[in-house]
């Protein structure tokens, strides 16, 4: 399981939820806005946790679905959040990408 990836390498973020059409889609739009505001050029897509693509680099998922995400995408860095709105994990991710740091997997 990947522990971290340099921000410069990240091209796409996968937002995963259970069905792939409710909360993930909502979070995608919120995240896209934050990325745009911070001038970060990274694609954001939404997927059901069971269908995370093999080449996913960074997967953002609620901690309740983290284990499903990790087993479906062992090569990806899995970042978890607790709350769908205003969770610091989203801002931390955007900050790290904007500042060119490494993206770390959550515990």
């Amino acid at each position: 399981m990947a522990q971290s990836v340099p921000a410069s390498e990240v091209k796409t973020i996968v937002l995963a939820c259970e069905a792939g059409m409710g909360s993930s889609l909502m979070s995608v739009n919120a995240l896209k806005k934050k990325l745009k505001k911070a001038n970060v050029d990274v694609k954001v897509v939404h997927k059901p946790a069971r269908a995370i693509p093999d080449d996913a680099q960074v997967v953002v998922v609620h901690k309740g679905l983290a284990s499903v995400a990790r087993s479906k995408a062992p090569q990806a860095v899995v970042v978890t959040f607790n709350h769908f709105m205003n969770d610091p994990a989203f801002d931390r991710l955007v900050n790290d990408l904007a500042a060119g740091r490494t993206i770390e997997a959550s515990e």
Partner: protein
């Protein structure tokens, strides 16, 4: 263990969720044009039966096969599903959920076994006929064996639910449904279990209570209102936005973290679900089809004529009960301070223009 249940549940729901649009189309046509609908129309009403008997199960069978082995699996899954559909008297959702993945899996195994053994130039012949022959055989097996078994299981599960309804015990389902939701099994429950059972009922009587059990936006609204009134800190501040997304947008997941942060609050939504379901049971309430997402707007679309009072009051009662229990708990046992801080620690705002919204 939880992961396995989530994965299995996700697989079940994954066969249904991509096809929700078709379910909604069926639901709308049913709600409008059946004799007890809003705009009865004999000709249009002819669509109702074939859509639920053939279209929806076959779509599920295709999707099930597709999940396992792409389009090829989908085709075999869909064709095999015809066997259980034709042989049964009830809409064969369970049958489709068995035949679809089964067909996909078998053709996948065949492809894997014969990958290197096909003579050059015979690939298309082998591919087409392997799929065709397998699908034909599976359709026959579906007709003879799986169909009757699936029908028996469906009827059995249906009669259990009916029995629970008769005995006024269905409300207790909230004790299972609400915790399952918070563990992200909401889709598996709603689409994988309750939906298929409900559709069978709805096809007969024009409505089903099953569609109300997991999707009711009342309890979640009550819970979030409790946090708004009696909560503190970020959970209180973020409640209004969450209420809109939950009740109007139908994204129930947004309230799960409010329970996960203070697990005893599950009693709030259980109370809401229990009261609402008891009301629905007494009033013999039901919806035409699954409201997806669980938004009040979606509810308004799938409430059959004559049911508005029963359904909407149930939503309200669910909200009130959840609010009362939730607010009480928050007053008597507030969210632990360190829990709150941990959730919303200070964020580094060194990037200009970026702040927590």
């Amino acid at each position: 263990m939880r992961e396995r249940v989530q994965q299995f549940g996700g697989f079940l729901a994954g066969m249904i969720i991509p096809n929700i649009g078709a379910f909604i189309a069926w639901g709308l046509i049913t709600a409008l044009f059946i004799p007890t609908g809003w705009l009865p129309n004999e000709d249009f009403a002819e669509l109702v039966g074939p859509m639920i008997t053939y279209l929806l199960p076959i779509l599920i069978g295709y999707t099930g096969g597709h999940l396992v082995h792409g389009i090829r699996g989908g085709v075999v899954g869909a064709a095999s599903t015809m066997g259980v559909v034709v042989g049964a008297d009830i809409p064969m959702f369970l049958g489709a959920m068995i035949m679809g993945p089964l067909g996909g899996w078998l053709i996948k195994k065949f492809d894997e076994a014969f990958e290197d053994k096909i003579p050059v130039g015979f690939e298309m012949l082998v591919n087409n006929f392997s799929a065709g022959i397998l699908a034909a055989i599976l359709a026959l097996i579906g007709y003879l064996v799986i169909g009757p078994v699936a029908e028996a299981i469906s009827n059995f599960l249906g009669s259990i639910v009916d029995g629970l309804i008769q005995a006024r015990l269905l409300p207790l389902a909230a004790i299972i449904i609400e915790p399952a939701k918070v563990l992200f099994l909401n889709n598996a429950l709603n689409h994988g279990v309750l939906g298929p059972l409900g559709v069978t009922q709805s096809a007969e009587t024009g409505r089903a209570i099953h569609f109300l059990l997991e999707t009711n936006p009342g309890p979640g609204l009550g819970l979030l209102t409790a946090y708004l009134v009696a909560g503190r800190g970020m959970l209180k501040q973020s409640a209004p936005g969450a209420m809109i997304i939950h009740f109007l947008g139908g994204i129930h997941e947004i309230y799960f973290p409010y329970i996960l942060a203070h697990p005893i609050m599950i009693l709030s939504t259980i109370a809401g679900g229990l009261v609402a379901d008891l009301w629905f049971t007494i009033m013999n309430a039901g919806l035409v089809a699954t409201p997806s997402p669980g938004s009040i707007f979606a509810y308004l679309v799938v409430i059959p004529p004559g049911q508005h009072f029963a359904v909407l009051t149930g939503v309200l009662l669910g909200a009130v009960a959840a609010f009362l229990v939730g607010a009480f708990i928050l007053r008597v046992r507030p969210v632990p301070e360190d829990e709150e801080e941990e959730e919303f620690e200070e964020v580094d705002t060194s990037v200009p223009g970026l702040a927590v919204d």
